[in-house]
């Protein structure tokens, strides 16, 4: 199974910093995922520091400890108390799960998470652990087995307490209201991605608040356990020209979505497999060559300039609708991405009379792979051929 993770946050109205913090880490080798959503006391920069400290510390603790319970208990016992308000500095929800569906979840102070299977809410059993140092602190420990198609949703109390005190929702949105929003959306779009679902929930919360002004920081994190969407990008001709046919066939028979980044590479695949390339008639305006079409391949673009632009887009998160923007969408719509990078150089690119913006393919791909892994939590595999 693949764990699709998405989160969305909105600040409290008139604040300039997020008071909630979501952090997630995927371990490629073991398939383990650790995520923490922490809500800092109050709002603004103070809450931001408290929440981010709690979340990052907890992540490191869980990573180092074999047991999430021990790690969370340590944090719970040591979180300081606000002198004025006599309440904890921050609350958290943490999940430690793997691709086989084994999950341990700990909650301290945050609203109870949702577990959805076949559009129904499951109510798992939990163990209450009371803090040894602060008798008013309890954490809930869940040990659950997830199946394909299951979803887990974490939220901060900004969601469940939305519209608190208004005429329509005197007690706020509460868990029931959140369930209604989520199930309604899932009926509409059963395969919705975690990213889209979390954005939808936050948007709905914003809409029910009077004047659409959020009274508290609002965060949602979604986890969706499903089959991975696979994609392959072939860029650069293979080092050994005699292997061209092997790699072209290998690429073409790949089960999943396919993209080619590189004119020479596309020509090679077309030649070896006897396919036609049709360049898009929309003339390349601006800074990038346009896209092309090839039967059986989802996207064909120019190589190094497009990849360089792509790495910029991935970094900024603000793509334009050009070839690199299309390639970015292609990649973000996938979970497991394989790069097949040909090691052969095009001597013409290193002609000193050429402008300097041509980068070395290996370096660009390395940068893209790192961004996809770290920033967009994708599983990336780079193979040099």
């Amino acid at each position: 199974m693949f764990i699709d993770i998405g989160s969305s946050q909105k600040k409290k109205y008139n604040q300039n910093a997020y008071g909630d913090y979501f952090v997630t880490k995927r371990y490629k080798e073991t398939g383990r995922v650790i995520s923490i959503l922490s809500d800092g006391l109050g709002s603004g920069i103070k809450a931001n520091i408290l929440a981010s400290m709690t979340a990052t510390m907890l992540l490191k603790f869980i990573e180092a400890q074999s047991d999430i319970r021990v790690a969370c208990e340590t944090i719970m016992n040591s979180l300081p108390v606000c002198k004025i308000r006599k309440i904890s500095y921050s609350t958290f929800s943490a999940i430690d799960c793997d691709e086989d569906g084994n999950a341990k979840i700990v909650e301290e102070g945050n609203p109870q998470f949702l577990w959805i299977r076949n559009n129904e809410i499951l109510e798992p059993e939990f163990k209450v652990i009371t803090s040894k140092t602060f008798s008013n602190r309890h954490m809930h420990l869940y040990k659950i087995k997830l199946e394909k198609g299951d979803r887990i949703i974490f939220c901060s109390d900004g969601v469940t307490q939305a519209a608190l005190g208004t005429k329509e929702l005197r007690l706020g949105l509460r868990r029931e209201g959140l369930i209604e929003i989520v199930l309604h959306k899932l009926q509409e779009e059963p395969d919705i991605s975690s990213d889209a679902l979390s954005k939808h929930i936050v948007r709905q919360v914003e809409l029910i608040e009077p004047d659409h002004k959020l009274k508290d920081d609002t965060s949602v994190a979604c986890f969706y356990f499903r089959d991975p969407r696979r994609a392959m990008v072939f860029t650069g001709p293979p080092y050994d020209i005699e292997q061209d046919n092997f790699y072209a066939t290998n690429f073409y028979n790949f089960k999943g979505k396919k993209a080619i980044a590189g004119g020479t590479t596309a020509n090679l695949v077309a030649r070896e497999l006897n396919l036609e390339i049709e360049a898009d008639n929309a003339i390349n305006v601006g800074k990038l060559p346009g896209i092309s079409y090839m039967k059986g391949v989802d996207l064909v673009t120019e190589g190094i300039l497009t990849l360089t632009k792509l790495s910029e887009y991935l970094e900024s998160g603000l793509p334009l609708d050009d070839a690199a923007g299309k390639l970015m969408k292609f990649l973000l719509d996938s979970d497991e991405i394989k790069f097949m990078v040909g090691a052969k150089l095009n001597q013409a690119h290193y002609d000193p009379s050429l402008p300097v913006e041509i980068e070395i393919r290996k370096n660009v791909v390395k940068k893209i792979a790192k961004l996809l892994e770290d920033k967009y939590v994708k599983k990336v595999d780079v193979r040099y051929v």
């Binding site: 360049a279 003339i283 120019e302």
Partner: protein, 86 residues
């Protein structure tokens, strides 16, 4: 009569060497020759890597003939000869 095909390379080398300046050809050629000549972009003509020491990008292909270090004037000139020859 078969139409003449003009392909403008938009591969990496040609692109950085200014093949976008040839974009005007997409307007000029139909105005001059109507549907006798078809002009379209090409992902890569593959000329830069196969040519000798210094590549002569940008390239334009007119039927089977390659125009290197192409400019609008150069392309139109070759094209004119082709059309008259036919």
């Amino acid at each position: 009569m078969e139409s003449i095909e003009v392909k403008i390379c938009s591969g990496t080398t040609c692109f950085v060497m200014g093949s976008t300046y040839l974009n005007e050809l997409y307007e000029i050629i139909p105005q001059l020759y109507g549907n006798k000549v078809v002009v379209k972009p090409s992902l890569c003509l593959g000329q830069c890597s196969s040519s000798d020491k210094h590549s002569k990008a940008p390239y334009v292909k007119i039927d089977d003939e390659y125009v290197s270090q192409a400019t609008i004037e150069k392309v139109l000139e070759v094209l004119k000869k082709k059309v008259e020859h036919v």
